[in-house]
């Protein structure tokens, strides 16, 4: 047979041979996993639990421009800081009174992201039965870790929105329920019962001081106690306890004390140096933290890499920072003198042109101002020509509107905005620390009239910073306590929540101007100091709770009821 007649036969038979693969379409994705191989294996189960810890990052956004890591974002919603740049519109709308359900800045995302994280935890709970071949001890530990994370997520929802719908399982596409809001009490009960369950089972390591290094950063029994204490403190506070039911304070007090006792019994104690507390990872005071990436990476910043840019956001112009947040004159004035006097006290010796002298050490440990020594030189906010003013060498956009810069959390040796190596700031984001537990407990004691016990714990916190003990009682003690809390917990995502929780936010903040310091330097070198008013801030009554996103209300077909006033 001639070659040219063979060719077509060969071709056709070759095609018939290769062309009839029956299972051609039976392929599975090679770059993903499915249920069957996630929940059945100890290693993949652990990896799934890791993912649940991302629930603590629900404020982090993809849009890093001017954004702040974690929850420092609530600081400029309070009287602590003024935010120069906007963050998804959050500050503008909060400040000018325009916060509404269809325009709520990053709270929109906070709601969705938090519930998405809840869903991830629920999915674990729904599927953990598949882990038949995994060590039951491990399964128990993982379950409690996830239970703790979920409880924290509900606490987070509670403090911003009040009573929210409690969802504990993952529905299916054709069988889902649009449930109404639960009451704040129900949410509190749910959180507490979940935490009590963990406490009863006692399967988590006790604290990050005693656990193995590899476990550090994960849920501990100390953290569980701390969350229970804080939740019950909120539940007893005026916002959630308008009738001031004393039994709620009693329950809170018990939990707060239990948390302190548990922490102290398991290696926690106050860290000696307030100035280094926030830049010393895994110190004895940290009960529960999230940590940030500070190594180098090829892929850069962002949500995926857990990179914090604190040093970039907060540093002053001459230090290559953006000065996203500017501490207010109000905040600066909250720091007492070394003798423990308010600066408004005529006997305090306070003078505006030496405002930095003779102050609570925590002031200079937390805030940078004109004349502060930092990174090898002095901060200069004076005009004309100060290197950190709007006339500085880099000038213009990244000066401080108030004349102050954040120092707390910053590490002097971190290069802000290390663009090329994508290094982040290594500081931990502290979610629970012992001093907060002391103050929480003190608050319950004040409310229950046990002033002495309250003073004891407040003074422990003050003593660490060499501040004299206080002897106030009654209303004066309450006032003193609240200022102490403001100073000690500056920028730790408490002030905004405390003001609302105490239901005094409107009276403290509404319709008041942000105040700033303006420093002029004459040709002779003499400086003059002036307090000036900046933007007037609104904090109407309805801001006591954040509005639920309008989309959610609409999508629920009004099953969700909006918070009052919106």
């Amino acid at each position: 047979m001639k070659i040219k007649n063979i060719i077509p036969i060969l071709l056709i038979s070759a095609f018939l041979a290769v062309g009839c693969s029956k299972d051609l379409l039976d392929i599975k994705p090679v770059d993903k996993f499915t249920e069957a191989n996630v929940f059945t294996d100890a290693k993949t189960l652990e990896i799934y639990v890791n993912g649940c810890y991302r629930g603590f990052y629900t404020f982090d956004v993809l849009d890093w421009w001017f954004s702040l890591p974690l929850e420092h974002f609530t600081s400029p919603l309070s009287d602590e800081n003024y935010a120069k740049f906007d963050f998804w519109g959050t500050w503008i709308i909060n400040h000018n009174g325009a916060l509404d359900p269809s325009n709520l800045g990053c709270f929109q995302m906070k709601w969705s992201k938090t519930y998405e994280s809840v869903k991830n935890c629920n999915l674990f709970m729904d599927n953990i039965a598949l882990a038949k071949n995994v060590d039951p001890l491990l399964v128990g530990r993982y379950t409690d870790e996830v239970r703790f994370i979920r409880a924290y997520l509900y606490f987070d929802l509670l403090r911003y929105w009040g009573g929210v719908p409690i969802v504990t399982t993952v529905p299916s596409l054709d069988n889902y329920k649009v449930t109404p809001r639960n009451t704040p009490e129900q949410v509190v009960d749910f959180i507490v019962s979940e935490l009590d369950q963990i406490i009863a089972l006692d399967k988590l390591p006790k604290s990050n001081q005693t656990c193995e290094d590899s476990y550090k950063g994960r849920a501990t029994m100390a953290a569980v106690h701390a969350l229970k204490a804080r939740t019950l403190l909120y539940a007893a506070s005026p916002l959630f306890n308008p009738s001031n039911d004393q039994s709620k304070w009693t329950i809170a007090a018990t939990a707060c004390k239990a948390a302190i006792d548990y922490a102290e019994a398991n290696g926690h104690q106050l860290f000696a140096d307030y100035g280094k507390l926030f830049i010393t990872p895994y110190n004895s005071e940290e009960i529960f933290i999230r940590s940030w990436w500070s190594g180098t990476s090829e892929t850069g910043w962002g949500w995926g890499q857990q990179v914090s840019l604190l040093d970039l956001y907060f540093n002053s112009p001459s230090n290559g920072g953006w000065c996203s947040l500017c501490p207010t004159q109000d905040m600066v004035e909250s720091y007492e003198t070394l003798e423990g006097k308010k600066i408004t006290d005529p006997t305090s010796g306070y003078k505006l042109d030496h405002f930095w002298e003779n102050r609570d050490p925590r002031f200079a440990q937390s805030i940078l101002f004109d004349g502060s020594q930092w990174k090898g030189h002095k901060i200069e906010t004076f005009l004309p020509g100060g290197i950190d003013s709007n006339e500085g060498p880099v000038g213009g956009w990244n000066y401080s509107v108030t004349g102050y810069f954040v120092k707390k959390f910053l590490k002097e040796d971190v290069v802000p905005g290390d663009y090329d190596t994508k290094k982040g700031s290594p500081q931990h984001n502290i979610i629970f620390r012992l001093a907060e537990l002391y103050l929480n407990y003190a608050e319950t004691q004040i409310e229950l009239g046990n002033d002495e016990e309250a003073r004891k714990y407040i003074n422990m916190v003050r003593a660490r910073s060499t501040m004299p003990a206080i002897a106030d009682a009654g209303a004066a003690l309450k006032e003193r306590y609240r200022n102490e809390r403001k100073v000690e917990l500056f920028m730790e995502n408490h002030r905004y929540n405390d003001l609302r929780r105490w239901d005094i936010a409107t009276s403290v903040m509404d319709n008041k101007a942000i105040r700033a310091i303006e420093i002029r330097k004459s040709d002779s070198g003499a400086k003059t100091y002036n307090i000036e008013n900046r933007q007037v801030i609104m904090f109407p009554e309805r801001y006591r709770f954040v509005p639920i996103p309008k989309d959610e209300i609409d999508r629920s077909n009004k099953v969700l009821i909006q918070n009052p006033g919106y």
């Binding site: 993903k32 890791n50 709308i93 998405e116 929210v164 596409l173 994960r218 663009y419 290594p426």
Partner: protein, 1121 residues
């Protein structure tokens, strides 16, 4: 020519004959001319032997050709090559053999050197007659055209031109004109008057009625098309020497929406949409090159393109899945019978941005910033008048009182682009070849810019007619891209180039670069390789073997098919290191080094990827003609397997910044390795039945069954039928007789269902994405991996179905003086995969998969009008195209009790909620409590309309936008073509209307510079009728979508113009060339109007932070020999 010789020998054999110049005008005709120095010596001394018995004439001629250097030229229509002959001669002169061969026929031969021309006696005789009108018919470059029909208009009296293109014809008294016609050429009619000699130059018809159009798994004559298919000739694609092919389509084809998104070398592809937006998801068309889905036409060498078809309606259904957004089919050039033609082209272009945004200068910007300080209660921070004056006069730039035009500091005036192309094509009856190579070098638009793009490509297409019934083909092509770019993202660079405060100098007067924002960034460094570069190399190789076999058993039955294996491989290498910039001179007179210098880290990231795609196609065809019935059927099977894989490695603390530094030179601590893979298979069955009756009624029906593995078993296959028909009214005798001026009149209609599975894959599974380095726990920098649950599984997910309807009319009048194509279409989609995210709250805990829920309709029309005319040597055509499309959501998930004006249903897809605005608040508005305001509103802020008139500005006042952002609803174009003797001119205008752009202004004010326009007319107490809001960052516009900054972006641009000149053949010959053409051309030359004013209307970014579209001026030359 012998069939059993090895390839190489055959090839050489053909080359031997390249001394003669050859032109192939159409498949049926071979043309030739005599060389001036021809002589008969060869034919006088060469002796040949032949011995055939009852053999086809063609075989005898072949045998002679293969054994000698003789070459036969003849018109196949005029010579019966199938005639059986018997001949036996030994060592005879060619003339003896030829005498014998044609003894009893009317064929005459003439021998000119090695060339033997065979023609019927009447042609030869015609040359000897001396009649009233004589002349020569040539084609454009002066070569004679034999076989042209020359007819006295209105009579049957006619003749054909001879081999020298000469004719001579008896013209009766009173005859008005002569008509010259030739297949594939523009027919011409010339008045006789008193002329006795009429010389005619014929031109190839641009849009001839005999035009062959590729329709997907086949070709059609244009006149018999039943669907809405536009064709662009390769020559037209070739003309536009823009470095990216996708940018050459705009304005040329009705129904194509082409939007440029970047001018960055190597990234300058246009987004192409066929008939606008059809679905809620992926709208990109399917791109098929020589049968294979290639994803993009961006990097094809335009010189390789034979033709390009755009399937706009149900005719695309033959491609089934993925075809719902239309199909673009590119066919590359192949060899054709004849002597080798070698072509070479060189093109040198200069590019520059089309529009330079007019930015406020240093004085203006800082005055504006002063106003901002006042608005923000910080009047003490204003820049003093003395300092503003310094900026104006430029007296103190080093102290940051410069007045830098950042754009001009980094952007070059002109950027060179070069392209070389070379090709060779030719062949014999048995073997036809086309081979080409191209080289493209595109440089950065920046001064000292590190970005650039180089491309080398080759292609070889071989066709081998093994026997009368077997044809084989091999297509090979490859491409090597090399793209470099600086390590800072381009969008940042463009942001900096427009937004930096002009008060900063780019360099201090001593030449040191400035640390502008104290973060190390300075555009002059960012565009350069100062911080290292990223180099992406990608290589791809395509190989395809094709076969066509006429089956011996049944007449009309054949099989064809192909096997293709495409491989791609890419490398990316990103080397990063610090650069040094400097701060302002300090008190000691030193310039402190900027922050980037503090970073000692040098890092290297490398990645490699591979992909392979294997396709098998086989097709069984049956063709049958009986009486006036014409039937053409095929059934086919096709399958594709695709795989890709990538790996990457990273190390820092590299010991070297050397370009050749390798990963091992970095630190092991912190090193990263990564990798993943992807798989996709396809399985398709399809068939087509084509039928026509008497050349008047045409019917096409296709059926396709496609399998896609991304759907669950049982839902994987989709069936996609289509039917289309046309009626050629002009072929009806009633019209032929009554309206002879109608050359073509056709009605078309089509209907079809097409599939789309270009959606997120495997949504029927709850997939868990594994992400490494996600959670930090257990000590410093201990990054742990995590799983993220994907969507809730949707076990019912399946194909999205498009139903496309189209009616059209084609008409050609008065010998193509006017041609019209008109199409009306309505495409509806159902089962569109969308999420139920409007009716299911987030807190419920579903991560919504896509479900087959959405419905939308996209309808519109297209019209193409062409006018062709020739006046003497001047020939021109004008065509205009206009297309309109509008899409509307028919069904989409809506929020319960949605406000009427916020409904998505009935609005264009993707329409968002916008506040309506009405200028700016006046002080009176602010004072008037009756005027609704948002919180914090002040005089000079954007005034928002209280749409629902409830006295409050809130989310309920947002209105679903009805304007089409970014994607124009109207695209139109004009094409002007003209030629006169050696000159040719081609002009393309492209325009768009009913399109809007949303300009983002969030950085206006303190952080970034802005358009001069904002400065010249912003609100102040003394300018209350201003166009733009006051200087204050807290404007409503920065936190809410509002229509204040939604601006019309219609435009008309001269998108392409070319003037070419073919130097006369006689001159070309002096340098031994056949054809030489010089041309000047330009693309995106200028905007005739631009409603957007401030930026290029096609800009990719909402405030111009993108690599701008390029205007390119070209000079080029093409030669062939």
């Amino acid at each position: 020519m012998k069939k059993n010789k090895p390839f190489g020998e055959l090839f050489c054999h053909s080359l031997k004959k390249t001394l003669l110049t050859m032109r192939i005008a159409v498949v049926l005709m071979i043309l030739g001319i005599l060389q001036a120095h021809a002589n008969d010596a060869y034919s006088q001394k060469t002796r040949l032997s032949v011995n055939f018995s009852q053999t086809q004439l063609v075989k005898v001629l072949d045998q002679i050709e293969s054994e000698s250097e003789f070459f036969f030229l003849y018109n196949e229509k005029l010579l019966d090559t199938e005639r059986k002959v018997s001949i036996t001669e030994k060592d005879q002169l060619i003339s003896v053999i030829l005498d014998d061969l044609f003894a009893s026929t009317d064929i005459r031969y003439s021998i000119v050197d090695r060339k033997i021309i065979l023609a019927p006696a009447y042609l030869s005789e015609a040359a000897q007659q001396q009649n009233k009108v004589t002349g020569t018919v040539t084609i454009k470059n002066g070569e004679p055209l034999p076989g042209v029909n020359v007819v006295v208009t209105g009579t049957t009296q006619g003749t054909l031109t001879d081999v020298a293109g000469k004719y001579s014809i008896e013209v009766p008294q009173g005859s008005k004109s002569l008509r010259f016609s030739f297949v594939g050429m523009e027919p011409q009619e010339i008045s006789i008057g008193t002329l006795t000699q009429i010389n005619v130059t014929m031109a190839e018809s641009a849009i001839g009625l005999e035009e062959i159009v590729v329709i997907g798994y086949g070709t059609r004559k244009k006149e018999t098309l039943t669907g809405s298919i536009s064709k662009v000739e390769g020559t037209e694609m070739k003309m536009n020497p823009s470095p990216n092919l996708s940018s050459s389509l705009g304005g040329k084809v009705p129904g194509i929406v082409s939007i440029n998104y970047s001018g960055q070398p190597g990234e300058d592809g246009n987004k192409i949409l066929i008939r606008g937006l059809g679905t809620l998801g992926d709208n990109s068309p399917l791109i098929i090159v020589d049968g294979i889905d290639v994803g993009t036409i961006d990097r094809l060498d335009p010189n390789d393109i034979e033709s390009l078809s755009v399937l706009k309606d149900a005719s695309a259904a033959i491609y089934g899945s993925k075809a719902a957004n239309g199909v673009i089919i590119v066919t590359t050039k192949r060899g054709s019978k004849g002597k080798a033609i070698i072509e070479y082209g060189y093109n040198y272009g200069l590019g520059q941005p089309t529009v330079k945004p007019q930015i406020a200068n240093g004085y203006e910007y800082n005055k504006y910033v002063n106003a901002y300080y006042v608005a923000n209660n910080e009047s003490g921070k204003q820049m003093s008048d003395a300092d503003l004056e310094k900026i104006k006069t430029g007296s103190d730039p080093d102290n940051y009182f410069a007045n830098t035009d950042w754009w001009s500091t980094v952007v070059r005036d002109y950027t060179p682009i070069q392209r070389h192309t070379a090709s060779i094509r030719g062949g014999t009856d048995e073997l036809k070849y086309y081979a080409s190579a191209g080289y493209l070098d595109q440089r950065s638009v920046f001064k000292n810019g590190a970005d650039g793009f180089k491309q080398i490509n080759y292609r070889a297409n071989l066709d081998w007619q093994l026997s009368k019934s077997i044809k084989l083909g091999i297509n090979l092509s490859g491409r090597f891209d090399d793209k470099t770019q600086p390590n800072t993202p381009m969008s940042d660079t463009w942001w900096m180039a427009q937004s930096i405060n002009p008060r900063y100098p780019a360099y201090f007067s001593n030449g040191l670069p400035t640390d502008v924002y104290a973060d190390g960034w300075n555009p002059v460094m960012m565009v350069s390789d100062a911080g290292g570069i990223t180099e992406d190399k990608s290589n791809s190789y395509q190989s395809m073997m094709t076969f066509e076999i006429k089956l011996p058993w049944v007449k009309g039955l054949s099989v064809d098919g192909w096997y293709s294996m495409d491989k791609g491989q890419g490398n990316s290498r990103k080397q990063q290191y610090p650069w040094t910039v400097y701060g302002r001179k300090d008190a000691n007179g030193n310039y402190p080094t900027g922050i980037s210098n503090l970073l000692a880290q040098i890092s290297l990231f490398e990645s490699a990827n591979w992909n392979s795609s294997e396709t098998i196609n086989s097709k069984l065809n049956y063709v049958k003609k009986f009486g006036k019935h014409d039937l053409n059927i095929f059934v086919a099977y096709e399958q594709n397997k695709y795989e890709s894989k990538w790996i990457s490695g990273y190390r820092n603390d590299m010991i070297s910044t050397n370009k050749d530094a390798q990963l091992f030179m970095g630190a092991q601590l912190g090193q990263v390795a990564n990798g993943s893979a992807y798989k996709m298979n396809r399985q398709n069955y399809f068939s087509r039945l084509s039928y026509n009756y008497s050349g008047k009624y045409y019917l096409d029906a296709t059926f396709r069954r496609d399998g896609s593995p991304i759907f669950p078993a049982g839902k994987r296959f989709g069936n996609f039928p289509s039917i289309s028909a046309s009626w050629r009214i002009s072929e009806e005798s009633f019209l032929k007789n009554s309206a002879p001026y109608i050359n073509n009149l056709k009605l078309r209609a089509s209907w079809g269902q097409l599939g789309n599975d270009r959606v997120a894959e495997y949504q029927y599974l709850t997939a868990y994405n594994y992400v490494d380095s996600q959670v930090l726990m257990g000590g410093a920098n201990n990054l742990l991996p995590a799983f993220y649950p994907g969507v809730n599984a949707n076990p019912n997910i399946t194909w999205e179905v498009a139903e496309n309807k189209n009616v059209g009319i084609d008409a050609g009048l008065w010998d193509r003086l006017i041609e019209v194509e008109f199409d009306l279409f309505s495409n509806s989609r159902k089962n569109i995969l969308i999420q139920r995210n409007a009716s299911i709250p987030d807190y419920v805990g579903l991560k919504l998969p896509e479900e087959n829920l959405g419905k939308m309709r996209n309808s519109g029309f297209e019209i193409l009008l062409t006018h062709n005319k020739q006046i003497g040597d001047f020939k021109y055509s004008i065509s205009g195209n206009y297309s309109y499309n509008n899409n509307e959501v028919i069904y989409i998930d809506e929020t319960p009790n949605v406000l009427e004006w916020q409904k998505r249903t009935g609005k264009p897809f993707g329409a968002e909620l916008y506040y309506q605005t009405n200028g700016l608040y006046s002080p009176a508005d602010i004072a008037d409590a009756q005027v609704p305001k948002y919180g914090g509103a002040e005089a000079g802020d954007i005034k928002v309309v209280d749409y629902n008139k409830d006295g409050v500005i809130n989310g309920d006042d947002r209105v679903r936008m009805d304007k089409s952002l970014d994607v124009p609803r109207v695209m139109y174009g004009f094409n002007l073509k003209g030629s006169y003797k050696g000159f040719d001119l081609n002009i393309v205008f492209q325009g768009a209307e009913k399109v809007y752009r949303y300009l983002t202004t969030d950085d206006i004010g303190i952080r970034g510079n802005f358009l001069k326009e904002y400065y010249t007319n912003y609100w102040t107490e003394s300018n209350q009728s201003a166009r733009w809001p006051k200087a204050n960052p807290n404007t409503f516009g920065s936190t809410n979508n509002n229509d204040f900054f939604v601006l019309p972006a219609g435009y008309l641009r001269l998108s392409f113009m070319e003037l070419g000149y073919n130097i006369p053949k006689s001159i070309a010959k002096i340098v031994m060339l056949d054809n030489v053409r010089f041309y000047f051309s330009g693309s995106n030359l200028f905007l005739i109007y631009n409603k957007l004013k401030y930026y290029d209307p096609e800009m990719a970014d909402s405030r111009g932070n993108y690599y701008p579209k390029q205007r390119i001026l070209n000079f080029g030359v093409n030669v062939s020999f």
